[in-house]
Subunit: 419 residues, 2 copies
């Protein structure tokens, strides 16, 4: 073992110990701790902003700009938002201890599934420092110890934030090792973290395709993939076209850089001529570059021809692929072939067509007459989210507190033995 | 790609297509198909037994004997048991389509979590041919396409069984590719199966440590580990010693070769002198070799000293480790250090001690005053099981039909967009 691996291994040991202790912290104590954490962030706002300036200066020197630089940037308002996020988590129901199901067998055995923490949760993420406090809060409330591995660009900020959070935890009587930051931001440390089998109970990668590929190829710990959102909106022949236009514009424009933004528009041929030119004009007026199949291009002046790669691409930008389809089945086939399993939407007033679309889409979330942008923990009422699963195992879609738990099966008897 | 990989890849494509079609097969049609499968096995009993003789002859020539040979052996009664298993699955509730949860948001969005199949489920297993029909039946009922990869030793048997099942599926109007056997029993084929990312939705290894290690190191597909059962029975100071003896003997002796058999006995020092000599005599009379710590050895004539490795070993045999502990906390610490996360039991009449033990054991299943042997899908009322999870993600303990599903989030609105 290298020194780095030894250090990570010790960190994981401390996380396990903290997780074991967290299991018996009461809901009231966890909520009180969350409020203390929020207060501590507010009190330390200046120190956090100072550290963030150091990160921002270095990032600018390294040529970072645009939305990446914006994501790295903290302001007094954003620090206050981080504190607010922790306070919000304190108001959410505690998932731990929930009796999911209980039944009695003919032999008198009483069986219960009881919700328990996963244990040690590790998150690898990019340069948004608010993720540091969000993850810490969600893990604390769900009884898990958090191992945080942010990006090199945010290291000063994350170090101060976690130092503040840990000190507040200690004061609140909660093990400070419930929140730990991996300060080695090199690739080898991330790789070592992926291989802490038996010590990390869940790894969530919040990053791009190369991080996800690295985890799929190399991780030995259990993980949930927070993957791409190549989200589709299908406007059916039986759509209310006003709703359809409103939803398409919202799904594409309200925040084009996030995973629940619509990337593709599929339009039923029966309404394409009436619907597409108008909505395309609105999208282009808002700066969206449209890339269409042949039939779409024939209907819209200024639309360029899509390449085969377009259909599989999550742009996260003001670009949208457009295709005219013969019916809902062709839309479903397209999504089956090119979707990333995140979110799809159908706009239709026909109940049977909607049900067919919902039943046939292989995605985590399927919307009927609503914007894809609603795939979000807060919008679903989860209060917050630690990520959005695009895999089928364990959890799908927005992951809140409950998705950070597992269950124990408790069997109570009176001396029963098996025949 | 090698020819083998191409063949496996085509098989996976057919499985995906079958899975997509299975999604819309009704419960009645699935149940009718299950009964047809059962009838087909009964009708083909002679052909299946003939194939099994070929496998058994080869196995004997290769030196296979004892419990392995027994597991490979089919008899008319066992074939009839396989058919009975399929009929039993037909009587179980269909998990697909179950509305797990439904709620309405303030903006009027109606959100539902609906249970759906995982998709394509692959199982790698050892020489028990009944697993072939069990897995096929559970996957069919839960709407999943099954990829079966049995051992070389059972190839003739499995080939005939799957041929019979596939023909019966086709007659019942269900895609025959819902059940496919990987006939290449080489290691390379298993390795290729583990790497069918995006095409296999769940891989369940039912095999020994080397298979599990291979999967942890090399799989890129999602998997659930069906791991070791180093199960403990802790007899507390407040135990009813009659119940305790009955449970210890049942947990160790009723079937020593299975994962839910007790492997370790922890005894509270306060009752050790009264309890241990008697139960040890009964165990030894039944042929169990006892390996104890120093305090246990002092109380029992004929007990040998345990080595450090004993505490981590799943014997699956007439061997049991015995340790005297000072209190429930020492028992918990021992289990935390050496348990495999499968099943632990406490025998006590003290409710608080029982609750402490249940809350602190990191295992999937914790029994109070009942035998560890009850950790079993049938005993829990699941009707059948496809495996027993010792991991924390997705499912824990016995995995029945529900554990072969995931959920889709369906959101129905009336034109809602995000602010």
């Amino acid at each position: 073992m290298s020194d780095d691996t030894v250090e990570l291994s010790l960190l994981a040991d401390r996380a396990r110990l903290a997780a074991t202790m967290l299991g018996s912290v009461t809901t009231d104590a966890k909520n009180a701790a969350l409020l203390s954490l929020a207060d501590a962030l507010t009190t330390a706002s200046t120190a956090i902003l100072d550290a963030n300036h150091v990160d921002l200066d270095a990032a600018r020197s390294n040529g970072m700009r645009g939305s990446l630089l914006d994501r790295l940037t903290l302001t007094p308002l954003r620090v206050s938002g981080m504190a607010g996020g922790l306070r919000a988590v304190a108001t959410l129901p505690d998932p731990v201890g929930e009796v999911i199901e209980a039944w009695t067998r003919p032999n008198g055995l009483n069986i219960r599934r009881v919700r328990v923490p996963l244990g040690v949760v590790a998150v690898i993420y990019e340069a948004r420092p608010n993720v540091t406090s969000d993850v810490a809060g969600l893990c604390l409330k769900s009884g898990n110890a958090a191992i945080l591995r942010g990006s090199a660009a945010a290291l000063h900020t994350n170090t101060v934030v976690t130092t503040v959070l840990r000190a507040a935890l200690a004061c609140a009587g909660v093990p400070e090792d419930a929140v730990q930051l991996v300060t080695d931001t090199g690739h080898a440390a991330a790789r070592a973290l992926m291989k802490l089998r038996g010590r990390v109970d869940l790894l969530i990668p919040r990053g791009g395709a190369s991080l996800v590929d690295d985890i799929i190829e190399n991780a030995t710990v259990p993980y949930v993939i927070d993957g791409d959102g190549n989200c589709h909106v299908y406007v059916d022949g039986a759509a209310n076209l006003d709703k359809a236009a409103r939803i398409v514009l919202n799904a594409k424009l309200s925040n084009p850089s996030v995973c629940n933004a619509a990337e593709k528009l599929l339009v039923h041929e029966a309404i394409a001529q009436r619907f597409l030119p108008g909505v395309a004009a609105d999208l282009m007026a808002a700066g969206v570059a449209l890339r269409g199949d042949q039939r779409a291009c024939e209907l819209v002046v200024g639309m360029t021809a899509a390449s085969p790669a377009d259909w599989d691409t999550e742009y996260l930008d003001l670009i949208m692929g457009v295709r005219v389809v013969s019916d809902v089945e062709e839309a479903i086939d397209h999504i089956r072939a090119h979707g990333s399993g995140h979110t799809e939407a159908i706009i239709t007033e026909d109940r049977l067509t909607a049900d067919r679309f919902v039943g046939a889409c292989p995605s985590a979330v399927v919307m009927v007459n609503a914007s894809t942008r609603f795939t979000d923990g807060a919008e679903f009422g989860f209060g917050a989210e630690i990520g959005n699963s695009t895999q089928r195992l364990h959890a799908r879609g927005p992951m809140g507190l409950r998705e950070l738990t597992t269950y124990r099966i408790e069997v109570r008897g009176d001396g029963q033995v098996r025949e």
